[in-house]
Symmetry: C2
Subunit: 328 residues, 2 copies
């Protein structure tokens, strides 16, 4: 059971987008990992880390204990992940919830064929939120559970804001409504619908600042069907300077709230994230589960694992004995 | 890996105090458990469940898949738990944090000798808070972590309130200060000291209601050295009727807050509990880990496990495939 000291884990990354860059930064600050290189489909990347063509990855299989799959979920992961799992122990953040069972099955088959471990769908949702949903639900005979997302930058809604005539720059944040969170904790979460669960907040730089143009923009945004009309939406007009200072990040976050009766008393469990950067935090979870993947493989395990199947101590570089002393 | 459907788990309880009574209630609402009986040192208990003398427990070893140790942590567990672990797969809520490593070692030895599993120190703290401390800390290269307890009924402080002359009935709740929680989320938790982390709230029924006697009681409470003097303390005077209506429960709760830098961005992770009843929620965690203990034993494992070593899906009566579909 105990893995009290692990040799250095040799890590590599495939795919160098937002997530790949965050994983690169974080591997550098892990006490037990070294970064062997980055595989990319592009010939040149702006990094000091050695870069290799993605097509040559299999040639490096013997030098790598865990491969971080930082590819897009839309098409890259479904098309390419099993190919990597045949040659490497992998960890991914695949986030197409409905297709996770298929991904898990395909990665399990590929990983077993290659004698590897594949930890799938880490990150925060899926990932840490999944872990919390399962644990909290298991406590209550009849749990009421709600997941809220935000405060978070919403790419699709920001694009919609920017398409409104007169908008120079714009972002949209989705924020769980405080009322909805209080209702969920009180066990009345079943009545919360999409539009009452979240409010939308927009920050806009107008082409022509002034009351008339701003009123027209506000009207166009708040009445936009599907995107904004059913939600409580506020629009703030700001200067270009403020936009650049305050709205360049990729914040995100959310809450999983579970409550229920325990034979006469009610209790609630809340897991909440406030993320300064979505890719940095997703990477933090992926790196911790990457450690677990390498350790499971070192214990002789093979096949696919979701976060639900990974014992928590495997995420930490701290030896189990010390974790028990410090955290239990 | 997969335990897709488990046969009914035959459970029993030893020790019938607050926790034992809560475990009894909750086992009744588990789809996959049946309650064989309760072992007690007392000959008669007020329950419909079959009661057996604690001294005869070993005679029933063949009829029981998991034994819930609901004994006191002060002396019962250190003196008696290993004796049970030799004959039964057990789960306990031992909460003397400093002695958990010794308890883990002793239970490991006894459980291995008996071919059993012992899951130790479940509940909420230790237990779910321990799990969250380890997982959240593993995400940050340099985590700042704070645990806050409350809103909770404090037995020792309630006793101190009741010793004040003129107090007829009284309770004291310890509440984490909102300011301290905000500081912890912002990463400034290292500066939070005991007295600034919590505020104290007292509800008192005076022997002789009236401004003069109430002012004297308030003064005596808020200036009491050690117990109240360094804290922000508020005293509310209520009627006996209000006391009986609103202050008979054993509420508790708390927060584990972890934050840190992830290579340029800051994020925070919060795990928060609001418990209508401390023993009911402690029991909910113990019952879920009792399920895990029985399943680990059924898989052929033996020895002691902390919550850090238990894969999350083992807590749930829902089959793994369905959990992956529903929660990941
Ligand atoms: N589970 C969770 O909580 C969670 C949270 C957030 C995101 N995610 C998942 O993480 C995945 C990756 O996110 P991401 O933000 O890193 O996506 P991204 O920036 O679009 O990168 C995806 C891929 O596109 C390629 N790419 C990146 N920049 C490029 C450029 N300038 N020109 C050409 N190609 C470029 C990279 O591959 P090459 O280097 O090979 O070109 C990269 O692997 C997402 O699909 C999402 O599903 C999961
Ligand atoms: N990990 C956590 O989060 C957490 C949280 C809360 C509590 N706990 C732990 O749980 C332990 C049990 O708590 P508890 O509230 O159930 O303690 P309790 O009510 O004092 O019961 C402890 C034992 O005392 C005996 N007892 C109970 N009522 C009695 C009575 N009226 N007369 C004589 N004996 C009686 C029972 O054994 P018999 O039936 O054999 O007489 C019982 O097992 C605590 O020691 C605490 O350490 C852990």
């Amino acid at each position: 059971m105990t893995t009290s000291s692990t040799p250095t884990i040799r890590a590599a990354i495939v795919g160098y987008g937002n997530l790949g860059r965050s994983v690169e930064k974080l591997i550098r600050s892990q006490p037990d990992m070294e970064l062997v290189g980055i595989f990319s489909r592009r010939p040149e990347l702006d990094t000091d880390t050695p870069v290799f063509p993605a097509a040559s990855a299999a040639d490096h299989a013997g030098e790598i204990d865990v491969l971080f799959l930082c590819l897009g979920s839309a098409t890259d992961i479904p098309e390419q992940a099993t190919g990597y799992a045949r040659h490497f122990t992998t960890v991914d953040t695949y986030d197409n919830h409905q297709l996770v069972p298929d991904h898990y099955a395909a990665m399990g088959e590929a990983a077993r064929a290659g004698g590897n471990v594949a930890v799938v769908s880490t990150g925060w949702d899926p990932g840490l939120f999944s872990l919390n949903r399962t644990v909290a639900d298991a406590l209550f005979p009849d749990a009421q559970q709600n997941t809220f997302w935000g405060k978070g930058l919403s790419q699709g809604h920001s694009d919609a804001v920017r398409r409104v005539p007169g908008v120079k720059r714009g972002v949209q944040y989705t924020i769980p409504s405080e009322e909805a969170i209080a209702e969920a904790k009180a066990g009345r979460g079943a009545e919360i619908t999409g539009a009452s669960a979240h409010v939308r907040e927009c920050f806009v730089v107008a082409e022509e600042p002034g009351a008339a143009s701003e009123e027209a923009i506000r009207e166009a945004i708040t009445t936009m069907p599907d995107y904004f009309a059913p939600y409580t939406t506020t629009v703030h007009f700001i200067t270009e300077h403020e936009f650049e200072r305050d709205h360049q990040g990729m914040p995100h976050g959310g809450h999983v709230i579970t409550s229920g009766d325990l034979g006469g008393s009610r209790s609630s469990v809340e897991f909440a994230l406030e993320l300064g950067s979505n890719p940095d935090f997703t990477a933090a979870s992926q790196v911790a589960y990457g450690r677990a993947a390498a350790r499971l493989r070192a214990e002789g395990r093979t096949g696919a694992f979701t976060v639900l199947e990974v014992a928590p101590y495997l995420l930490s570089p701290v030896p189990l004995e010390e974790l028990i002393r410090r955290d239990v």
